[in-house]
């Protein structure tokens, strides 16, 4: 067996599978993060940004109508959709942008799928006076045209990526290529718990605020921990943020919801745990959708944010040890849940988050009334309205 070193590993997953050109840049980032993560001034500034700028803490909302309608477990929604810029992505971005600024970087680059991470990065760059370039698959610039406009409005340059499937994986590849071009003044603000060490750890730590707040809020409201916490999984950042402070609480069930696209038995799917196998890509060892020769699969989901052929290494590990379970949700189920939550609670969830809502619709009715489910609503669905209308055959364009 291979002897693998422990740093940056989650079980067998993770690591730093990147070109030599980037090694000193990630080492520099690791050292800076190790220094600042325990620095009181850094943490004070970040807390202030979270509270004053991003509107934290986000609400833990009791979804009374949904609970009554489903007739089973009590359902709470963790409202990351109410954050400034409309998704959980801002938690990670404010942390990384502040870190980059402390490191003396003047330019942020990012990949984006749905555009939420790109918008958050463009926002932080505007706030902190940094230059910003966002790589976005050309396919996604079409499905998420509104977010492209938002990024440009915020002063960022958006580069449509035409290679490969012209979606999220290609945007990540192109951002990595650009980073090898220019490391001295540039920080790569990666948007999920993926890529080479230290990104999966840094992004997790900045997103862990979600579960930290859920824990406090649910103890205040219910005097006990929830039975289930659940979230959608693309790379897995809102999900790991939702799980993190519950990992040691073995009675809390952790459920990640992957995008099955047109179904896990079709090629048009992005459900990595359900259909992928162990591999090495985008800087990490983890599970990836791929063919028998290791060529990365051209995945598909209606949700641009979940349309990624891999999963973060910490999730891969939580899956291996059985601590979290991962389920898959089809386009159809997610669209139904998108409409359901809008009608039932007056909350339009992002199509990504709708994957988690869809799974809750399946399990809540089967659970006793004294059980508690927390669903993270990772973002708001305004960006998706035009695409969902088209899915339903109504031709509205933004």
């Amino acid at each position: 067996m291979n002897k693998v070193k422990k740093e940056g590993r989650f079980g067998i997953h993770g690591g730093q599978y990147i070109p030599e050109t980037l090694m000193n840049a990630v080492n520099e980032l690791t050292a800076a993060y190790e220094h600042y993560k325990n620095d009181p001034e850094f943490n004070r500034e970040l807390q202030e940004l979270f509270n004053e700028y991003a509107n934290r803490p986000s609400r833990l909302y009791f979804a009374k109508k949904m609970t009554e309608d489903l007739g089973g477990a009590k359902i709470y929604l963790k409202r990351e959709d109410l954050n400034h810029t409309g998704a959980h992505k801002v938690n990670n971005v404010l942390g990384q942008a502040l870190l980059a600024k402390k490191m003396g970087k003047t330019r942020l680059i990012a990949e984006t799928g749905a555009g939420q991470h790109g918008v958050a990065t463009a926002t932080a760059a505007a706030l902190m006076g940094m230059e910003c370039v966002v790589f976005m698959g050309e396919e996604d610039t079409k499905r998420q045209a509104l977010n492209v406009y938002r990024m440009r409005l915020l002063g960022a340059e958006v580069i449509p990526v035409k290679t490969g499937t012209a979606t999220l994986k290609d945007a990540v590849s192109e951002a990595m290529r650009e980073w090898t071009n220019r490391v001295s003044d540039t920080h790569y603000c990666l948007g999920s718990v993926m890529g080479p060490h230290p990104f999966p750890t840094i992004v997790r730590d900045f997103q862990a605020v979600i579960s930290k707040e859920i824990k406090q809020q649910i103890l205040e409201k219910e005097g006990r921990l929830p039975d289930v916490v659940m979230a959608c999984v693309g790379g897995g950042s809102n999900a790991i943020g939702t799980f993190y402070h519950f990992i040691e609480d073995k009675d809390v069930q952790l459920i990640g919801c992957e995008a099955a696209g047109r179904g896990v038995d079709t090629f048009e799917t992005a459900a990595t745990i359900a259909t992928g196998k162990l591999g090495i890509f985008h800087g990490m060892k983890s599970y990836f959708c791929q063919d028998e020769y290791g060529q990365i699969a051209p995945v598909y989901s209606i949700s641009a944010g979940l349309d990624y052929p891999g999963i973060g290494p910490e999730h891969a590990h939580l899956h291996d040890i059985g601590r979290a379970s991962y389920v898959s949700v089809t386009d159809d189920e997610a669209v139904n849940a998108f409409e359901y939550l809008s009608r039932t609670e007056g909350i339009i969830p992002a199509i990504e988050s709708s994957h988690a809502v869809a799974h809750a619709l399946k399990i809540a009715p089967t659970m006793d009334k004294d059980k508690i489910i927390v669903i993270t609503i990772s973002g708001r669905g305004d960006k998706d309205c035009a695409a969902i209308a088209r899915y339903r055959g109504e031709n509205i364009y933004e």
Partner: protein, 258 residues
Amino acid sequence: MSNIKNAFAGGKAFIPFITCGDPDIDTTYKVVIEAVNNGADLIELGIPFSDPTAEGPVIQEANIRALSGGITTDKVFDLVRKLRETVTIPLVFMTYANVVFSYGADRFIRTCSEVGIDGLIIPDIPYEEKEEFTPYCDKYDVDLISMIAPTSEDRIAKIAKEAKGFIYVVSSMGVTGTRSSFSNDLSHITEKIREVTDVPCAIGFGISNPEQAEKMASISDGAIVGSAIIKILAQYGKDAPSKVGEFVKSMKDAVRKA
């Protein structure tokens, strides 16, 4: 010790890179034979990968052409078997970690050794992760080639000390693709390498003409050329072999002068 040292035994080496299966495997076979006949000292055979993150547009497109032509890892091994009926110069694979990993590292590297591959260049395996493959490389006597970049600085000595076969010095920041300028620190890097090892080092990334090749070979043990050759393949397709041959000859003549 693999066969690789022989590439550098007769003076400065010229090392072409060719993407296997671009546009088809027969053309690759002919291109390799032309390159050998025109003075190539070692050949890098690229096994295409769907998402080559260290590659610029020219080689990315070659990967796409090859994959859509139906190339697979097994077909590349068959190509090497056929090449080895006549070709004796060292051959190395250049591919990505997942291509090796998914085949099974043991099985992949054992097959390399069986068909006559002398080394592996895997840009997404840095020093820190090389133990992913080195146990099998040692077992089957295939060299895992180390890369050193303009940003390597204090990493140069530790990488060079453990290097085998040859050292691939990356000429400049960024991805592969032809360039008009190079990092101006290159001789500093090759000098540092020579302080700790006598494993030969060759410079690659961006070299496209005889002047550049001569200059790079003058401060190292050889020049590696990829995108400039792939451009010939993109332009001439099945008619590329003789054109590549002419190009290799001009480049080999240039490094001889270095």
